[in-house]
Symmetry: C2
Subunit: 376 residues, 2 copies
DNA sequence: ATGGACCCTGCAAAGGTTTGCAGTGAAGTA
DNA sequence: TACTTCACTGCAAACCTTTGCAGGGTCCAT
């Protein structure tokens, strides 16, 4: 049943190599022959066997995409962007979900290594050293984690956290909590660092709660703790947790934003649908997906055949693209933040409860700042 | 750099075939030899090249999963379930998103055909005849669509729609609208059919609005239309549309459920987080993913080598598993439905506004009724 | 001692494609 | 005419693995 290059060759009366060239190097074959071959191929429904091609070229034209949790609405836009970018370059994307499990991550990289040309590692939960080690097995681009020596796509959550804290302090909050995410998350560390200094600079006090599961459940589970801590504002690791927290607080009779202000991170679609609408730090997920694919393909092209990674050539310092791109984030003020106990009497609750300034402008995803690549 | 079976053979002093057997048929090789080979393989970091293996066995150990829209929260649980089921059987899943575009669907099937052992087609938007045609190219299992002659996994949305309508009529609603989804959706047709008879049986009147995009935007866009139509209850194609509609109605000053009741379909996680919490028809997405993978693998096993599909053997009627499984749905009553204008005076709003009976029991996903397979 | 059974291993073909090299024929040049 | 150039095509090796077949032992029973 499966029609091979040989069938096409027989049908069109040429050698298989001519058929092969018709597809992979059309300029090398006589136009007349070409149309005949193409006609036969079309007729027979021939499609090149990618496995066989991969066997000899060493390139599968597939990309692996490893995601901590597909169910987190943060990722789908990234996946979509990566897929469409890849498709434009005749690549396919292999999506895999690790359920936030570092072991599953490692296994998936191994399993994918031989059947993809490279892997996008999104929000990894494993250690940097393991990532470096795995990068010797297959070209890697890391998203949401900084690994020296490897190409990375980062979102400036530090800047986002700072903006969020400044927003809260400006509203008159002093006692602020940071709802931590997974322990092994780079984003988590960055946020904590930035929030700590920003709160100190603003003359407030930061309480860190966590680590927690980056889900609604993780958020609602700490509602009680938040209430007891006496803070008046919370910056959550992501929108899901923020929404869960608001739910949890609501169940305890704590009103948002009247009694406690809540800020999320990601600006997932959902954050515009809850009541109150969520104030959040928008992250450029689509741009991240596209950029990561670009960086991976660029890296791939440099070393076309086998012989990738150290060991081929000099021991260290094989030419590789290791640029690290930092994408900008953007604070979106909606209804989940309001004035705190130290609010200045003038124009109270001016910043909140207004119309969402981002809604008319569509999804409100800021443009990528792919320009500010930080050399490494 | 890439270490092959030959390197392992050389290192352990045996022939490559022995190495091969060590992995694919361990019982055929001397235990001593086996441990030596395994040690060498481990040492060198050998991993079998799946492309080469696929070339000779004809099986890639990959499954394609084609999804209309990853960003629709309905799908991630299905994807996760399919992935984990596949992983248990040493298969990988290739997820691809079509953006609800039938053309993209077709192209993806073609592109995937040669690099997977089978494809799961979820909520396809292309025609039945095209699906049948494509099934000759690669084994297919269809989810959320009934195609005669092909294995299908269906969710009983007809039953769900009926239950929803009966619930609404029981609450005293007579003028009910159905918010249609994509024109080419099987689910959409089933719902319409079931809702039509159920409403008629209940002595009410059904207004069909649509087709619409199955998104929040699609839902909010028809809010005005819903208001003008004068209906007091709406059954939406899915939760996303229901939520969008509630948003839209809210913006028009129409209160849910006081003035209009809204029912969704899917029971996505989000439906428990909005205000009011959404009354919805829960669909067993996880079970559907698992079942679909099982059916595909079962089908695959029957025809191990090439020679799949008609044309090999007699012209028609190649043995294939074409079972069609119907999974049950479950009405979950929450807060978005309330008494209508014809409500009986006794115990008003008894059915709604109670505590969500499903919440304590976890995600509230009903168990699969894989037993009631309908022969085809 | 002979034969058979059995376990393990090696041999070699096969799978579909790409690609360097060589060969063919025609056209152009001297 | 003889030689070069050029465009096109065929040949065959290579990619890495699996697997049917056969050969080499060892052991046991006759």
């Amino acid at each position: 049943m499966p029609v091979t290059i040989r069938d096409v060759a027989r049908a069109s009366g040429v050698h298989i190599s001519t058929v092969s060239r018709t597809f992979s190097a059309p300029h090398l074959v006589n136009p007349e022959t070409r149309v005949r071959v193409l006609a036969c191929a079309e007729d027979l429904g021939y499609r090149p066997n990618r496995a066989a091609r991969a066997l000899i070229t060493g390139r599968t034209h597939n990309i692996g995409l490893i995601i901590a949790d597909i169910a987190n609405p943060f990722f789908p836009p990234l996946i979509k962007a990566a897929e469409s970018q890849a498709r434009h370059r005749d690549y396919h994307v292999f999506v895999a979900d690790t359920n936030e499990d570092p072991t599953a991550e490692e296994e998936l990289v191994h399993a994918l290594a031989k059947q993809v040309d490279g892997v996008l590692l999104c929000s990894p939960r494993m250690s940097n050293s393991l990532i470096e080690q795995l990068s010797r097995e297959v070209p890697l681009v890391v998203v949401n984690r900084q690994v020296t020596g490897l190409p990375c796509v980062l979102m400036d959550v530090g800047q986002g956290a700072r903006a969020a804290v400044e927003h809260l302090i400006g509203l008159g909050h002093r006692d602020i909590a940071l709802l931590g995410g997974p322990r092994s998350s780079w984003t988590n560390r960055e946020m904590r660092r930035a929030a700590t200094t920003a709160v100190r600079t603003g003359g407030g006090e930061l309480t860190v709660l966590g680590p927690n599961a980056p889900t609604e459940t993780g958020g609602s589970a700490v509602a009680e703790q938040v209430r007891r801590s006496g803070v008046t504002a919370v910056l959550a690791y992501n929108d899901l947790m923020a929404i869960g927290l608001i739910e949890g607080l609501d169940a305890l009779g704590v009103r948002v934003p009247q009694q406690v202000s809540v800020v999320g991170v990601d600006d997932i679609a959902l954050s515009r649908l809850t009541r109150p609408k969520l104030t959040t730090v928008a992250t450029p997920t689509g741009a991240a997906g596209r950029t990561a694919v670009d960086m991976l393909l660029q890296q791939d092209i440099e070393s076309p055949r086998g012989a990738r990674g150290p060991g081929a050539g000099t021991a260290v310092g094989v030419r590789r693209t290791t640029a690290q791109v930092m994408l900008q984030t953007d604070l979106v003020i909606r209804d989940s933040t309001g004035p705190g106990p130290h609010a200045r009497p003038a124009r109270p609750r001016a910043a909140s409860h207004g119309p969402d300034p981002h809604c008319p402008a569509g999804p409100g995803i800021p443009t990528a700042a792919s320009g500010d690549a930080v050399a490494s």
